[in-house]
């Protein structure tokens, strides 16, 4: 049997006959992933070149060689952490605290929202609307200028409390959506089987709902890491703050910002690969 490539005789009867070979070659190249990749690389290089050109015109002095020492530096045969690594550790510390607190606060909010209680659901709804309809930055200023003097906490914990206050609303919605998305028939079957509400949750609903929640919850951790950069506004010494300080000291704006952005990208992109993997795994299982 002839394959599609060799059937020139029949192709003559089609429209191909009218087309010059160069055009055909061009059309075929449009479908190749390699050609697209090369095009993309060229495009990226062009953008980069334009940026470099602009920087050159400003008389910008590139000092990439100065960046590594701000991660790690060797002093007297000992490796010490540079500001960027210290900042990264603070960012991770904030993220870790926030994940724990956010899960707890989100769970309580979700339960209150779904409860029979009048004031409970009203409180939860009010809280969600309040957070949803004001900017995170304004919330941060509110916490920094108003709440933290009242409670007497330092800026590090102000940052954590504010981020928790903000992120918990998303977690609450994820948990609620996960529970509600369990098929109605499952609730009815649990009721019909005479399970109490608690047993229905424990043995029927949650085992099905939790796997559904995991990917969006991981996605929320990505958002948490992204949003945590905002605490630099109140001078918590996280990665972004360290980056800004470094720029103030060394004037290497481009290098430092690109490096900081790169570090964030590495964290978030690797987490999003994890989410994709998780989603795939859960889809396969169910």
């Amino acid at each position: 049997m002839a394959d599609a490539g060799t059937s020139t005789a029949l192709a003559q009867r089609g429209r191909n006959a009218k087309k010059p070979p160069l055009l055909l070659l061009w059309e075929r190249s449009q479908r190749s992933p390699w050609v697209a990749s090369v095009q993309f690389a060229a495009f990226a290089a062009l953008l980069l070149w334009l940026a470099m050109l602009g920087a050159e015109q400003m008389g910008y002095l590139w000092q990439w060689y100065n960046i590594p020492q701000h991660f790690f530096r060797e002093v007297d045969g000992e490796w010490i952490m540079g500001p960027l690594v210290k900042g990264l550790l603070v960012t991770l510390q904030i993220a870790a605290w926030c994940i724990i607190l956010t899960l707890a606060a989100g769970l309580v909010t979700a339960l209150l929202r779904m409860s029979d209680s009048l004031t409970g659901s009203a409180l939860a709804t009010g809280y969600l609307e309040l957070v949803r309809n004001t900017p995170l930055l304004v919330q941060l200023y509110l916490f920094y200028f108003v709440i933290s003097p009242i409670l007497g906490v330092d800026r590090f914990w102000t940052g954590i409390i504010c981020l928790t206050f903000y992120e918990a609303t998303f977690v609450a919605e994820i948990i609620r959506a996960g529970i509600i998305s369990v098929d109605r028939g499952q609730w009815e079957a649990a009721d019909a089987g005479g399970l109490t509400r608690r047993d229905a949750y424990r043995y029927v609903i949650l085992p099905q709902a939790v796997p559904l929640m995991l990917p969006p919850l991981t996605g929320q951790i990505i958002n948490l890491i992204k949003h945590s950069a905002i605490v630099s506004v109140i001078a918590v010494t996280d990665l972004t703050t360290e980056g800004r300080n470094l720029i103030a000291d060394t004037f290497m704006s481009f290098e430092v910002w690109f490096t900081v952005a790169g570090v964030y990208l590495v964290m978030t992109v690797s987490l999003s690969f994890f989410v994709t993997w998780l989603e795939h795994k859960i889809k396969v299982r169910t």
């Binding site: 049997m1 002839a2 394959d3 599609a4 192709a11 089609g14 429209r15 191909n16």
Partner: protein, 250 residues
Amino acid sequence: MNESVTAPVIELSGVSKFFDQFQALREVDMDVRLGEKVVVCGPSGSGKSTMIRCINRLESHDQGRIVVDGIELTHDMGNILAVRREVGMVFQQFNLFPHLTVLENCTLAPMRARKLSREEANRVAMEYLERVQIPDQANKYPAQLSGGQQQRVAIARSLCMKPRIMLFDEPTSALDPEMIKEVLDVMVELAKEGMTMVVVTHEMGFAKTVADKMVFMDHGEIVEVAPPQTFFNDPQSDRTKQFLSQILSH
């Protein structure tokens, strides 16, 4: 040799199609002559829908060649468009455009692809809507029609492009039983007028009245090709016999 009189308008030779590892079509060979009515049947997953969808390149084949009306289907978009304008297709799920009225559904392609004026397109559309006996629904939206009516609109929509060939992909499978007949009636009419048709269906009554040629597929292969009398009364292959006994015993 009557081949010179009626040369094949659809010619599949050695067509194979893969979905990842799964081979949906295995070296399928088939000819359809002008005016011929071909009914394709077979168990679900046998590749009959895939084959018909390859003919107007809703799926691209991986090996072999498909020539429709003298045009070989390759990656060339111009060829594909040319073939699609000659070949009408009716789907299991109707696939009417929900945001357009019945009339607009029918005039869209003639106006955009054939560059007809609105008046001309409307005239043609009304003519075909009358043929499928729903001219009075012209200004309704698809959601307001019954399944049978929607499928007849879908047929009219295809006919408005004045195709030389019509493909039907299980046109009655998504219909309630009482609506199947009204759609089959339209198709029988169309067959009588001499339209070249390739129909994937399980409606064996329809096949017996209309078909010039029966094609039985299983596991991506064409198992048997025969005129309806032979096919129903004296099937050659065991797989055909088994299939027929299952489908006709109900």
